[in-house]
């Protein structure tokens, strides 16, 4: 188990290999469909982003509402592929260093990850209750009008992820599947 604390620099990102189990500490930002579209449009229009993504990690999540006394409701990953159209821009222009989600990524995203040194982490899809327990604080930092799709800053402790695609483009989905395939 490897522990990392955000922000992470390029060298740290490049040292992680597909299949590594990692515990993330520090802050991470949430962002899914609507927030990505808005950030992308802002960059296209030559505007600045409301948060500095350099060396930071974005978590693709749309949590359940928090019950009284809870920091956040169930908060597992959503399918990353829907963010693929926007991700290369965030990596190349803003040096986004990591993403957490589930499912595969497009060749364009992987190319940007290799060029800049960005890691794609996987959190367990559907383990929302477990993952929510590792989130200690959740504050809206941008696009509040988007409700559950707003950008939140999360303080996490030992947030468990697996390196899905590393900075060399090694993909755990393909490696793992071929290892156990019997057809």
């Amino acid at each position: 188990m490897i522990k990392i604390t955000t922000p992470i620099d390029e060298a740290t990102a490049r040292s992680l290999k597909a299949g590594d189990q990692v515990l993330i500490n520090g802050i991470i930002y949430t962002g899914r469909d609507a927030a990505h579209k808005r950030m992308f449009d802002a960059l296209k229009a030559g505007q600045e982003l409301p948060v500095d993504l350099r060396d930071q990690i974005i978590y693709y999540v749309g949590p359940c509402p928090a019950k009284p006394g809870q920091v956040i409701g169930a908060a597992g990953p959503t399918t990353s592929g829907r963010m693929d159209a926007y991700t290369p821009t965030l990596i190349r222009e803003k040096y986004l260093r990591g993403m957490i989600g589930k499912g595969g990524r497009s060749p364009e995203v992987i190319k940007a990850m290799r060029d800049i040194g960005t890691v794609y982490f996987l959190a367990i899809g559907g383990a929302g209750a477990l993952l929510a327990q590792r989130i200690k604080k959740a504050t809206v930092v941008a696009y509040e009008d988007l409700g559950p799709e707003a950008i939140y800053c999360l303080v996490v402790e030992d947030f468990p992820v697996i390196v899905g695609i590393d900075c060399q483009g090694n993909n755990l989905y393909t490696i793992g599947r071929s290892q156990y395939r019997q057809l």
């Binding site: 597992g76 499912g103 899809g125 383990a127 929302g128 209750a129 993952l131 697996i162 156990y180 019997q182």
Partner: protein
């Protein structure tokens, strides 16, 4: 003739929405233990154990197993000796969904229109399937359906000449293409027969049968076993990161069909095998 006031349906649906999103059945706990025992991949076993821990946490804190608490799919069995009073049954069911998703702090994921795409804010309307049966009872099953596993489900109208082999090929192709989007290990629901809409409904109904239970017809039970073995040889594994356990089970439901038809449908249910039922 028995009278049922639909106002009494509201609190029942409310409870079932919360229960189904926070509690998994006995059968699930048995199936996950069996999966952990059989999984060969270390990461795979780790993931399965974490899913178990997740389910335990959700149950003890009465919080959602997964944040995608779905669109509420509701099956109604209405005994024909029942007279409904006190309003419209579907309005009552939707009111129950509204209250359940709000009071249970469940995520509201339903949009008013597929193109305008504005959130209705209370997870209504539900998708309701009604069957008229013998008797004087009203049975309600709530089965919340998340998008990850629904989006990679599908229907195919096979040629009858493609037969069982065609069915196996289609199911396997669907499993391979779905990969990790279904949050494996899954329950694979398969419908065979009927027509276009009936076969899709069969596949969905197949997800309601308890895990590790075979179909009563021997040739269908055998096909379930064969498909399960095949699916678990794909190597996809837990969360599609490689391993033995891609599916916890395969359930098939069948219905008579036309001489020129062989419809087949696959409906995936992610590891969060959620449903709860009650009889009034």
């Amino acid at each position: 003739m028995k009278e049922i006031n639909v106002q009494d349906v509201i609190p029942v649906v409310e409870r079932l929405c919360i229960e189904s999103c926070t509690l998994l059945g006995e059968d699930w706990w048995q199936a996950i233990d069996q999966a952990i025992a059989r999984e060969e991949s270390t990461i795979g076993r780790d993931i399965l154990s974490q899913l178990k821990e997740n389910a335990r946490l959700a149950a003890t804190t009465s919080s959602a197993i997964c944040q995608d608490t779905g669109i509420a799919v509701i099956f109604v069995e209405l005994g024909q000796d029942v007279r409904l009073t006190g309003g419209n049954l579907y309005d009552a069911i939707n009111e129950g969904v509204r209250r359940g998703y709000t009071k249970g702090y469940l995520r509201k994921s339903v949009l008013n229109d597929p193109l305008i795409r504005k959130n209705t804010g209370d997870n209504t309307p539900a998708i309701i399937h009604t069957h008229i049966v013998n008797g004087d009872f009203l049975k309600i099953t709530v089965a919340p359906k998340g998008a990850g596993s629904e989006n990679v489900s599908g229907v195919k109208m096979l040629k009858p000449s493609e037969g069982v082999e065609g069915i196996k090929r289609y199911v396997l192709q669907m499993v391979e293409e779905a990969g990790g989007n279904t949050c494996p290990p899954t329950l694979v629901g398969v419908g065979i027969g009927g027509d276009l809409e009936e076969v899709a409904l069969l596949a969905k109904k197949a997800l309601l049968r308890p895990l590790l239970q075979r179909h009563p017809l021997p040739h269908i039970a055998q096909l379930e076993e064969e498909l399960l073995t095949m699916i678990n040889k794909t190597g996809i594994g837990p969360q599609a990161l490689g391993g033995r356990i891609t599916a916890l089970d395969v359930h098939i439901e069948v219905y008579p069909t036309h001489i020129a038809c062989l419809p087949v449908a696959v409906n995936f249910q992610c590891h969060a095998v959620r449903h709860a039922e009650a009889v009034l």
